[in-house]
Amino acid sequence: MCFTAFDHVPEQTSIFHDWIRQDKLVFRKKLVLKPPRWSSVSSIQLREADKGVWRVEIRDADGNFLRILRFSITD
């Protein structure tokens, strides 16, 4: 699960959560942000074969990086 919270959202917009495993985009979630503050969450169902290195890239509506979260799925 990837939780993102935004304080002071001037107008309605959208963001993307890109779930990437070993440099391959596995899942993209578009989330809507509404003024004045907004929290959003995305999640994926993991399987045994999904072990390995992951990252979630959080981008704005124009594709700009906002944040990147790196983690590993282990046993």
Binding site: D23, K51, R55, R70, D75
Partner: protein, 484 residues
């Protein structure tokens, strides 16, 4: 340098030279031992048969090949049966020295004095006799019903043969060299009319044989005690032993100078050895470079040449090719795979995927070998320009974290690294990972150094960049939330 000589020098070894010399000598010795015998012609026949067999084998004439094989086998058996006495006497008469290296320059001398003396002794005793001395032409076909004798010529032997009470006294004795080969031989009678009345059956037989060959026949008349000599169908009376000796010397070739004869013998032996060398070399050459061919398959690594220094081969569908070669038996047996090269010219390669078809020009083969098949016939390579990119490092954790432990923070030093590789590849890369780091033993906060996993192998760290990352991690006990 002629092409065949170039090919020859490329494959010949010292063992081959020895091989040729040894077999030439064996062939030469066979000639020396068998020359002048009936076996010689049979051996030549078998040799010709073997050559024919090779030719039909090369031309894939299966039926003829089988028939020739049968004939060769039958001939070999026939030779052993028919010529068993000749073969036995050959080995009995010759010592190991004669068989291995002795070249006799001393001819077998026909004892003309003994023959002439014996003939006049028989004439004086009025004992009839008929003696054949063959010339260059064989007389076997003209002679019938003879008895094999094989005894050395001596006065006593000749007189014994023609002694009237001897069962073999009727008929002719055949003398070859210093041997009486056959006795009681029936010679063909002449069909000429108008011969003198004094000529009996012996004279008619002597004329008959000399009409059919270049033999010289001596006739002793028992009625008149006269010695006559028949040659080329003509008969003449010989008055004394000295004249007969002279005629016999002329006929047997002994009139010529003995030193010149020895020189001729040495020359003919040298020619025979030269011919043996030529025959064996030809056979060896045909086996090595020509007629007898073989196939082989070799796995050869691919070499890429003339590559632009800015380009990098990222990926290749194959790193080696299987090459099927055809060549002479000897060449294929001795083939060194390092002599075969597969070189691709990458001067025209462009960044991205390139499909290359393997042509004959890309393959370097040893002299004498020819290409039959290449697998695969084309390869795909991915070529890329070299570029650099700074990438963030991420730890590749693996295993199972101990229960009750939580990894609170992880810090990497350095956090990013500069890597070099194909630009297309780098465009697709956003992160570089460490080698796998097990989490099973993370009991307390600590640090450890791990290597980077450079995948694919064409990826390299930029110069001056160390290939290890220091991981500093903080762990703490997991807090269990309990309900009040």
């Amino acid at each position: 340098m002629p092409l065949f000589l170039e090919k020859l020098l490329a494959i010949i070894r010292w063992q081959d030279v020895l091989d040729i010399l040894l077999n030439s000598y064996i062939l030469f010795r066979l000639y020396i031992i068998l020359r002048g015998t009936r076996l010689f012609l049979v051996v030549v026949f078998i040799f010709v048969l073997l050559i024919l067999q090779q030719i039909v084998s090369i031309t894939s004439m299966i039926l003829t090949h089988t028939v020739l094989q049968g004939i060769a086998a039958l001939t070999a058996i026939g030779v052993l049966i028919v010529f068993r006495y000749e073969i036995r006497s050959l080995f009995q008469a010759k010592g190991i020295k004669d068989i291995l290296w002795h070249v006799s320059t001393k001819p077998i001398v026909t004892p003309v004095e003994i023959i002439a003396g014996s003939v006049y002794q028989l004439a004086r005793k009025r004992i009839g006799a008929l003696i054949v001395l063959p010339g260059r032409q064989p007389v076997d076909a003209a002679i019938q019903n003879s008895v094999s004798w094989n005894g050395e010529v001596s006065r006593e032997m000749i007189e014994t043969i023609f002694w009237p009470d001897n069962p073999v006294h009727d008929g002719a004795a055949v003398i070859q060299g210093n041997q009486i080969n056959r006795v009681a031989a029936i010679l063909p009678l002449t069909e000429r009319s108008g011969l003198p009345m004094r000529f009996g059956t012996r004279h008619r037989a002597a004329i008959g044989l000399t009409e059919r060959s270049d033999a010289l026949v001596l006739v002793v008349s028992e009625e008149r005690g006269e010695v006559s000599l028949a040659h080329m169908g003509q008969v003449e009376t010989v008055k004394d032993a000295a004249q007969l000796e002279k005629r016999l010397r002329q006929h047997t070739g002994m009139a010529s100078d003995s030193s010149r004869r020895a020189t001729n013998d040495r020359r003919s032996a040298a020619i025979a050895f030269g011919l043996s060398l030529l025959v064996v070399s030809s056979v060896w050459y045909s086996y090595s470079l020509g007629f007898v061919r073989s196939l082989t398959t070799v796995e050869v690594p691919i070499e890429f040449v003339k590559r632009d220094a800015r380009l990098e081969i990222i990926e290749s569908s194959s790193t080696s090719v299987r090459i099927q070669l055809s060549g002479s038996l000897q060449l294929i047996n001795r083939l060194d795979p390092s002599q075969i090269k597969v070189r691709f010219d990458l001067s025209k390669a462009v960044a991205g995927r390139n499909s290359l078809t393997i042509t004959d020009d890309d393959i370097i083969l040893p002299p004498g070998a020819s290409l039959k098949k290449v697998e695969p016939s084309s390869i795909d390579i991915m070529v890329d320009t070299i570029g650099q990119k700074r990438l963030p490092v991420q730890v590749d954790w693996t295993g199972t974290l101990p229960p009750g432990i939580l990894v609170e923070s992880v810090r990497l030093e350095p956090q990013t690294v500069e890597v070099t590789g194909g630009q297309l590849l780098l465009n697709e890369m956003d992160t570089i990972y460490t080698a796998k780091v097990p989490v099973d033993e993370l009991q307390k906060s600590d640090e450890q150094r791990v290597a980077l996993a450079l995948v694919p192998a064409s990826l390299r760290l930029a110069p001056g960049q160390g290939n290890s990352i220091l991981i500093t991690y903080t762990v703490r006990p997991r807090q269990l939330v309990t309900s009040p």
